[in-house]
């Protein structure tokens, strides 16, 4: 029977191919949407994994998370620098580190931070070592710069263009291992360098004439149009002592000692004046609900397409059986049992659908991988496109529905009278 079915399909290869393609496309649509949404959830959750608690100035919680975890360019309001001083001194805090944005280089965001954050959120270096001087920089695994490369920061967020800080140049001294987060695409520099470039912060060795550093701390918008040009002192040693005169900050990443501490800290800084504390995981959960809605809409589109394809397939199958009355009748006249006739029609359809579903899963996976690749290239966030058990259940459901539907034309063939078929 299989041999006959295969010979038959080979003979009708063009029509079979069209059916397989239709089924594959309809399947791929749903599969791609499902995989893509899952990848987005998993990828973003993993990217936020090391970011326990973020403290920033009052404003959009979502934006705070997007800017600090995913390094999405945006003008964040600043909070007073003492917040960092207080947090570092807090006994519930394992470590706390500032995150300063504002510049970019070749489209890579330049993030000012501390060795504590880098040690706490990455797995180590693939090359070189940690920055030790103000003019040194480290790059994420996704940054296409070698050790020793010069980084000339451009003012403004990545992609916006803007002027260079002509006198300031960082030298890349280390490359981090991949983390699968947006930080893989970042150039990490000492926070003091960011402050100095923008003319902020106290610098005891180099008084910078013409700039009002202290005033700057009061400015609400670091990424705004107000430029306080300064430059870095490339050889200055790293100063990670944030116990006095810390400039305003857009965000501080806090690693609480325990879960209880995390909740206590959030409570303290959520209600505290001039600050806001968020769990990125919680903000993401809120975003997932929206993502889920979008997925639901797309899935309805996919279901619609699948239903249409199923209906078209039924039509084709019924017409096909009618057209082959003669052959089907002959099979029985020459001694094939009725059940074999049923089986042939049923198997032929099911085989086409099965191949289509299989190809559709492959196609959907490919599409999701492709989209995830684009997304990763853009954001640095690794998007794991993976199948789960529920996908196997989906495939099984498709095949079960196909098996049921194929039974209709098969039953028509089964009921076909051989005499009528042979006549005329």
């Amino acid at each position: 029977m299989i041999r006959f079915v295969l010979a038959d399909l080979r003979r009708l290869w063009a029509a079979s191919l069209v059916i397989v393609l239709l089924v594959a496309l309809a399947t791929a649509l749903g599969v791609a949407v499902t995989l893509q949404e899952r990848a987005l959830r998993l990828g973003s959750a993993r990217a936020a994994d090391k970011f326990d608690l973020i403290v920033g100035a009052p404003g959009s919680e979502t934006q705070l998370v997007l800017s600090s975890v995913f390094l999405q360019p945006a003008a964040l309001p600043l909070m007073p620098g003492e917040v960092l001083t207080k947090l570092i001194a807090d006994p519930r805090v394992a470590w706390a580190a500032p995150i300063g944005f504002g510049d970019n280089f070749q489209g890579y965001p330049i993030v000012g931070t501390t060795t504590a954050l880098i040690s706490g959120t990455t797995t180590g270096f693939s090359q070189g070592q940690m920055f030790a001087r103000e003019g040194e920089a480290m790059v994420g695994s996704g940054v296409d710069l070698p050790i020793g490369a010069e980084v000339k920061p451009m003012h403004g967020a990545a992609g916006e263009g803007g002027e260079t800080h002509a006198e300031s140049i960082y030298h890349v001294v280390g490359k981090l291992q991949p983390t699968g987060t947006a930080w893989d695409r970042a150039v990490l520099v000492p926070i003091q360098a960011v402050w100095h470039i923008h003319g902020l912060g106290e610098d005891h060795d180099h008084e910078e004439a013409g700039h009002d550093e202290h005033e700057a701390a009061d400015h609400e918008d670091e990424a705004g149009e107000e430029h306080h040009h300064g430059h870095i002192d490339a050889d200055a040693p790293l100063d990670e002592d944030f116990d006095h005169e810390v400039p305003g900050l857009p965000a501080v990443l806090v690693k609480p000692k325990t879960i209880a501490d995390a909740y206590a800290l959030r409570q303290a800084y959520r209600t505290g004046e001039g600050t806001r504390a968020v769990f990125p995981a919680e903000v993401l959960t809120g975003l997932y609900a929206t993502l889920g809605d979008a997925r639901a809409v797309l899935m309805y589109v996919a279901y619609g397409a699948q239903t249409l394809v199923a209906a078209a397939l039924m039509l084709i199958a019924v017409i096909h059986v009618a057209q082959r009355r003669k052959q089907i009748g002959a099979l029985r006249a020459f001694g094939a049992p009725r059940l074999a006739v049923f089986g042939i029609v049923w198997l032929e359809l099911l085989l086409l659908v099965a191949i289509g579903v299989g190809a559709g899963f492959g196609l959907g996976y490919g599409a999701a991988e492709f989209l995830a690749g684009l997304f990763t290239a853009q954001s640095g966030v690794h998007m794991p496109v993976e199948f789960t058990k529920s996908d196997a259940a989906l495939a099984a459901t498709f095949l079960a529905v196909a098996a049921l539907m194929a039974a209709l034309p098969a039953a028509l063939a089964y009921r076909q009278s051989p005499v009528e078929a042979l006549r005329g």
């Binding site: 029977m1 006959f4 003979r11 006249a333 020459f334 001694g335 094939a336 049992p337 009725r338 074999a340």
Partner: protein, 228 residues
């Protein structure tokens, strides 16, 4: 080798005043060779359909060696036909895309009856009908060759009766004569009862007996001189 006995058989179709076929009595002995002739529309194909169990009469009994096939269910008739009847039709009803040998074996395979013995018999039958290339695809064959494949298929499961409806009508004279000859020879060698519907005088006159149908009735019944 099966004997046939029809009694009071009649079949009519909706919209037709008279029965399409009405035969009070007809007997063919086991191994007998019957030719059926008659004008177009006289009921010859209907006769074939009835005696092969493809169709059930409204009334009457059709006994093959004591089995009244009119009492069998449709599935049982299918099964009985598969085991006892070899059919050869005017249109060969071969399946394109399959080799000659696979066409011969197809019904047996679908009935799960294609044992090793059946397979070797299929090859043997193909060579007996004069086809040297069992793997040749049927759509590349001449019409005469196609009908030979159909004859081999009909004989595969050693049927007790071989029934042919206009087996030579779509062949040219030469190919038709060869196929006619084959049917006679093989039915004889296999010991099968033979029923042939044909207009072809040269074929029908070589059988034992010839009946002639007109408007569904037997209007002539001639014994021929045995000559094969």
């Amino acid at each position: 080798m099966l004997p046939l006995a029809l009694s009071d058989v009649a079949i009519s179709f909706p919209g037709l005043a008279q029965p399409v076929l009405s035969i009070d009595h007809l007997e063919v002995p086991a191994g007998g060779r019957l030719a059926v002739t008659g004008a177009s529309g006289s009921g010859k194909s209907t006769f074939v359909n009835l005696v092969s169990g493809l169709e059930r009469p409204d009334t009457g009994a059709i006994r093959w060696d004591g089995t009244d096939i009119t009492t069998l269910s449709e599935s049982r008739r299918d099964l009985w036909r598969a085991q006892n009847v070899g059919l050869v039709m005017q249109d060969f009803h071969l399946f394109p895309g399959l080799a000659a040998i696979d066409n011969v074996l197809l019904p047996a395979r679908l009935a799960r009856a294609a044992t090793a013995e059946v397979k070797s018999r299929a090859h043997e039958l193909l060579s007996r009908v004069g086809l040297a290339r069992p793997e040749q695809s049927v759509e590349t064959m001449s019409r005469g060759e196609m009908q030979r494949v159909a004859v081999a298929r009909a004989l595969l499961r050693r049927p007790g009766v071989l029934i042919a409806d206009e087996p030579t009508a779509s062949l040219d004279a030469e190919a038709g004569a060869e196929v006619g000859q084959l049917l006679l020879e093989l039915a004889n060698q296999e010991g099968a009862t033979l029923i042939v519907v044909s207009h072809d005088e040269r074929l029908t006159e070589r059988l034992d007996r010839r009946i002639r149908l007109a408007d569904g009735h037997i209007v002539a019944d001639t014994a021929m001189r045995a000559s094969s």
